[in-house]
Amino acid sequence: MADGRVDWLAPEALDEALALRAERGAEATVLAGGTFLGILMNERLLEPAALLSLGKVGGLEGIAVVDGELRLGAMTTHRAVERAPAVREGWPVLARAFSLVASPRVRNQATVGGVLADADYASDPPAVLEALGARVVLRSVRGEREVPVRELVVGHYETSIADDELLVEVRVPPCPARAVYRKFRSRSSEDRPCVGVAAVNGDRALRVVVGAVSDTPRELPEACALGVEAAAEIGHRYAGEIEPISDSRGSAAYRRRVIAVEVRRAVEALA
């Protein structure tokens, strides 16, 4: 483990945090809960000169429903999301997806903002948030913008967050009655997903997002346009078009097989 000597920046107000972010940019790594960053630092994959901790910033934690939309403060923990009555009642699929991440211990520390800003492919919430059409609020001293989750994660552990921006909130539109998340673990019950499938059948259309199989969550609107009755065909299309990665949880060839099965099962569950 590293010796822990860093420039520790712990602002207590958002303005102060944004000013520090503008001033230090990429040189100061943003620390939310620290479950992902903690691993990178322990493994010396990351040795930041400065850490900008959001732990003491007021107003970044909290769950609210505004005009039918769910608003999750960036520093809200996974545990808080899965336990919140408002989420369990209005967005049960989201509560479930957060409840499936790692262990209760990790979920007490991991945050909503962190899981998105890390862009870790082997994670559960991003696929569900994308399927629900969630957006993130990015703020900087320059102002504020909203970005769909679909456009946030742009590559392998890469996001479209600018060096002076902070992810401050996640906004989730009303949840359709039919929505499922299937987490497929190929090994231990404690393993990360080998394949994660979020499927939502809303007023407008079917959305299916497959996570944990490539750099970014994948969605194929043309396949989804076939509708819930074509579950098997949709599964085949996803399996055919995604180029899955190989890792300790499964080879690319195996993942293809599982994508076809799990997408089909997810869509069937919506019918």
Partner: protein
């Protein structure tokens, strides 16, 4: 930096580098050796501490993140606590290395779910690994303490 926290019920000041893990600081500065390093990536639970009453991984938490907060280790759980007594009564340990994390996690689990099912116990303790494989007796201990 000086890390001020409420440690096992007592206001405590510890010397720490801000980005050291809380685990390292608790072992080195406070001599709390029940907090143990195994995986270093938050998957095993041997370093579990309660932060404001909730289990977290001492190996992932940076020391400075605990500033001003309440930290509880096994040393802060009295020996007569029902969970500790249940673990002893059910022989729910072999090498004992994972036991502090198991006890802390179980204690919090029972606060939340006073009478957990087997599935709830497996889910609640899922992130605490025991390589000796004491899971059946640990489950029995949680049930006994319920």
């Amino acid at each position: 930096m000086t890390l001020d926290l409420l440690l096992n019920g007592r206001p405590t000041a510890l010397e720490a580098e801000p980005a050291e893990t809380l685990l390292e600081v608790l072992r080195r500065e406070a001599g709390l050796l029940s907090v143990r390093l195994t995986c270093g990536i938050g998957v095993c639970g041997a370093c579990t501490v309660l932060l404001d009453g909730e289990p977290v991984s001492g190996c992932l938490l940076r020391a400075a993140q605990a500033a001003g907060r309440e930290v509880t280790t096994l040393e802060g759980i009295p020996a007569e606590h029902p969970v500790r007594r249940a673990f002893a009564a059910e022989h729910a340990f072999q090498c004992g290395y994972c036991t502090p994390g198991m006890v802390l996690t179980s204690a919090r689990l029972l606060e939340e779910i006073p009478d957990p099912s087997d599935e709830q116990i497996a889910e609640g303790l899922g992130g605490n690994l025991c390589r000796c494989g004491c899971y059946l007796k640990i489950r029995a201990a949680v049930r006994r303490a319920a």
